[in-house]
Symmetry: C2
Subunit: 336 residues, 2 copies
């Protein structure tokens, strides 16, 4: 049974378990520092498909099927799939799970979708509205770049603040309280827009939303940053992470000692030319489902606040001169 | 407390109430047979804004603010907004509610979004995960046409099976059990794709999904079509509605006696040139929130099964030769 507190924060009193989890990625992700954590790495960007859109759907299918098989759960045991992605009309997800026959809730939270899907899956399980649920998302460098940024063939230069869209997918299967990791609480974020208009500086657009959501969970739950081994943002990258530290510093809080960002973890900044870091729904999804959940399960991390971050613009509205709204949703994951 | 039954169906044991509801629309919707049911009609398509995207956000704000004021509910009393729309990256919703400061769950269910948002809002309230929630969606003829169909300036001819995107928005505020209308149960649909590739025949693409979802709710709840005064699909239009009847006829069921479709109700087929009917998220949203919920509140309709329908393609994947996946979510609304 859930308990709504305030400011978007909900306590999950039955503490649902993440039964299993898996991540799939591309070659560049496999070459990064977390390469060995992925359950599947494709050496080919196309994943054997004829379009980038199908490649992304295939990527999502790979994370989904690995999560099911690792957990010994069949498709038929799933009540619902919560999924979304960055493609227009979220077709990466819709076409990816089209043939499963499993009831589907489509989400759009941009790069916050892994947290958004995990929030909803956990709330459904906590309240007997579902047995097992899958939380699933992805991004693919090629489908995202051609949709959001420079057409590749223009040879446009990437700015220093730009981030690199991760080719990756993560899937978590949530079920009733059993073994760790447990989901103890969530904060559903509000939109925060401080006027950033540079679509090549999404870290700056999203950092204030991450700040508000993390601050809200800590305040409502009467916790401090030191109650967590790790406060993990989605894809603020180097620019956004510095802004997050500065926002907390103004409150007299040093979050830097327990903070890391999926966009800073997934690539090797020395060897891989990713500018300000990784981004995309698949960034936080694959770092969470490939690396972090396993560390919580083993007890290496006791309490993690996973705050994925999203930038809710489209190319159309940015070209019309609009600023970029940010959002962040948080999930408290614990081994205790 | 919710009770998960089977095949995507959930019983809401506390039977949350729809506290208030409102609809906003454009001139053409105001000229239609339900024109007097709208809370706000704009004579100008631009709603006083400089882009079609902003016009749609403004439309959503109008439905939202009218629903709040009709219910005597302040923005600060809302726990969450569940919203989505058809624009790429769902910017109609994100920019529409950006300034509210209310925690936001972004959805993508194409034209099924009104049902999807109402499902989630009801489940949150049923389980104490929220106090009041808003379920909100919209579509705008101009933002949708330029994104999905022919560029207007080409002068392309519309096919007979094509539907007309409604300029409309609906908002429902859900809270704890109080007065009717009540939400008694929901079915979250699975994706159904029978291979339709014609993006100008979305009724045909969505009808099999509506059939599966309605059949599932009836079966799991051990009800027949005659237990409902009205089974209301979202925007199958004339072509899709006939396919729905045929699918039920094969099971020996005549659904036509209790069925209607929002896409058939919103325009005057004699006087308004809408081919196969209305469509868009705002079609089912404004018919439900402007017309149907009021009739349930008054007891004129006792039991309504609202099954909004969505087509989950994008222009990109359709151009790549893909077929169109359909989805439908159902909400059982009752005055009893």
């Amino acid at each position: 049974m859930s308990e709504y507190l305030n400011e978007g924060t909900i306590i999950l009193t039955t503490e649902p378990s993440v039964y299993s989890y898996a991540a799939a990625g591309g070659k560049m992700e496999g070459d990064g520092p977390l390469g060995s954590c992925f359950d599947y790495i494709s050496q080919e960007s196309d994943f054997g498909e004829s379009t980038w859109e199908k490649s992304e759907s295939r990527l999502q299918q790979l994370a989904f099927s690995h999560a099911l098989s690792k957990g010994g759960i069949s498709e038929g045991e799933l009540s619902f799939i919560f999924a979304g992605d960055l493609q227009n009309q979220c077709t990466g997800s819709a076409y990816g799970i089209r043939d499963t026959g499993i009831p589907f809730i489509g989400l759009y939270g941009a790069c916050s979708t892994m947290a958004e899907s995990l929030v909803l899956a956990s709330i459904f399980v906590d309240n007997n509205a579902a047995e097992y649920c899958a939380a699933l998302t992805s991004s693919h460098f090629c489908s995202a770049e051609r949709q959001f940024r420079f057409p590749e063939t223009y040879g446009g230069q990437r700015t220093p603040t730009a981030q690199w869209t991760v080719t990756g997918s993560g899937c978590a299967i949530v079920g009733k309280h059993n073994n760790p990791p447990y989901i103890k609480g969530v904060t559903i974020g509000k939109i925060v827009d401080l006027g950033i208009k540079d679509a090549n500086n999404m870290g700056a657009a999203m950092a204030p939303a991450a700040y508000e959501t993390i601050k809200s969970y800590l305040k409502v739950q009467k916790k401090t940053v030191n109650d967590f081994d790790l406060i993990l943002t989605g894809d603020l990258g180097s620019v956004g992470s510095e802004i997050l530290y500065e926002l907390f510093r103004k409150d007299g809080v040093d979050i830097s000692t327990v903070h890391n960002d999926c966009g800073l973890m997934i690539y090797d900044f020395e060897k891989q030319d990713v500018h300000a870091g990784g981004s995309g729904c698949g960034c936080s999804a694959s770092v969470l489902c490939g690396h972090i959940l396993e560390r919580v399960k083993k007890g290496e991390l006791k309490n993690v606040l996973f705050a994925a971050t999203g930038a809710l613009m489209s190319t159309t509205v940015v070209q019309q001169g609009e600023s970029i709204p940010g959002i962040s949703h948080a999930v408290h994951i614990s081994c205790e």
